[in-house]
Symmetry: C2
Subunit: 243 residues, 2 copies
């Protein structure tokens, strides 16, 4: 089964290990969820120490490319290719109010651009998909009295996907996951996200009408309401923010 995997040469061992592994993944056509060989197998086949294999895998794990499950194995979490470029970002002090506002400023820029691009590029299939997510979200909003964060998020994701540029979803998803811990405790604001609700449909209408400028404007309005909610929440607290 694993006859590929030629031995390693030259220095920079762990980088070479990763390169070989990327080639192996391509060779075996492994996708997300796929299981890659045991650390011991890799160490033997690549003629390197198991520790070296572990350091290489640790790098990939840090980049979110693989997931290691003790007792089970190592599994791919994303598509990998030999010509990948990495862009690790670290956000210092991202879990206070200032950090949240900063990520929102990034999201405002990206959300507006994604909506505009989507209005230009989305075909009928993509528009139908977005509308489907919008209907689900509105339904959840009605029945559960406002708690529709999961469906809301899926609606936005469908827009990012229809933008034709996977980077939008990657970046915004990373940020979303980043402060998700805060989303669980919405700063004491009970009706968090209520104000943004109507703009979801206006954004969709602009996209369906292939009106990029309109979509951009509506997206900006939506983010503005979120920022207002956030400021309101911060004003509610004014304590326990910094100990």
């Amino acid at each position: 089964m694993t006859d590929f995997l030629p031995p390693i040469q030259t220095t920079a061992r762990d980088d070479a290990v990763l390169k070989a592994l990327a080639g192996f993944v391509r060779q075996e056509a492994l996708g997300p969820g796929g299981k890659l060989p045991t650390e011991r197998i890799l160490a033997e086949r690549l003629k390197v120490s198991r520790n070296t294999v572990r350091e290489a895998l640790t790098r990939w794990e840090g980049l979110g490319l693989v997931e290691r499950r003790q007792g089970s194995g190592t599994y791919l979490k994303a598509a990998v290719s030999p010509d990948m470029l990495h862009m690790p970002l670290t956000l210092a002090g991202g879990n206070d109010f200032t950090g949240l506002m900063r990520t929102l400023e990034i999201r405002r820029a990206l959300e507006a651009e994604a909506a505009a691009l989507c209005a230009v590029r989305a075909g009928k299939a993509e528009i139908d998909e977005i509308e489907r997510k919008l209907d689900i979200m509105e339904e959840a909003f009605r029945t559960r009295a406002g708690m529709s964060s999961e469906e809301d998020w899926e609606f936005h994701q469908s827009i990012y996907r229809a933008s034709g540029n996977p980077l939008f979803e990657q970046i915004i998803s990373a940020m979303h996951e980043l402060f998700h811990r805060f989303w669980e405790h919405p700063l004491g604001v009970r009706d968090f996200g209520h104000a943004s609700f109507p703009y979801h449909r206006t954004i969709f209408d602009c996209i369906a009408a292939h009106d990029p400028d309109g979509a951009r404007a509506e997206a900006l309005k939506l983010i503005a309401t979120v920022e207002d909610d956030l400021k309101r929440g911060a004003a509610n607290l004014k304590l326990s923010d910094r100990k």
Copy 2:
């Protein structure tokens, strides 16, 4: 019946090491360039194996937080704090034309937003600094007949810094460094970047006049010229892109 039961978190050895290290960095007030203890010292003090220390440091190295020099030591490359959040991005196939265009779409969104924010927030000191970089760039452009990529980049960086949100510089710098190899060989277009030259000053004028909408519009024009240059370069080749 779907009671939400979050997965339990038991072992987290190397994460604990990183937490301790972050605390140490804060305690000792170490900044970029600072030297942190030996792996052997850390292993002894933290009562863990040196292997565990190495895995932890490998993570930080992968995130660009730290640099390891064999025979010398391990040095900080960026400010670290105990409450950091990581956002690793991987761009598959980022070194072809499509990948470059996608990063440019991200940069367009961020560049415009940063310019607008800068126009609102920049004080006199920041505006002076930007103008200084602009003068340097224009001078280099004149004397070296267009080759001013380094000075051009510093001008843009000064704008990101004055935006009041360090995330802009972080994200765009990461992308810049990412495809810097392409910037060196501008696809055969000799006068790459010439068309974007005049917009640098118009952007600055809008910022100095605290005109966010104008700054955003000029930034969009600038990126548009870069995109045109890129498309022109791709048309020049039409070969050796996918062999």
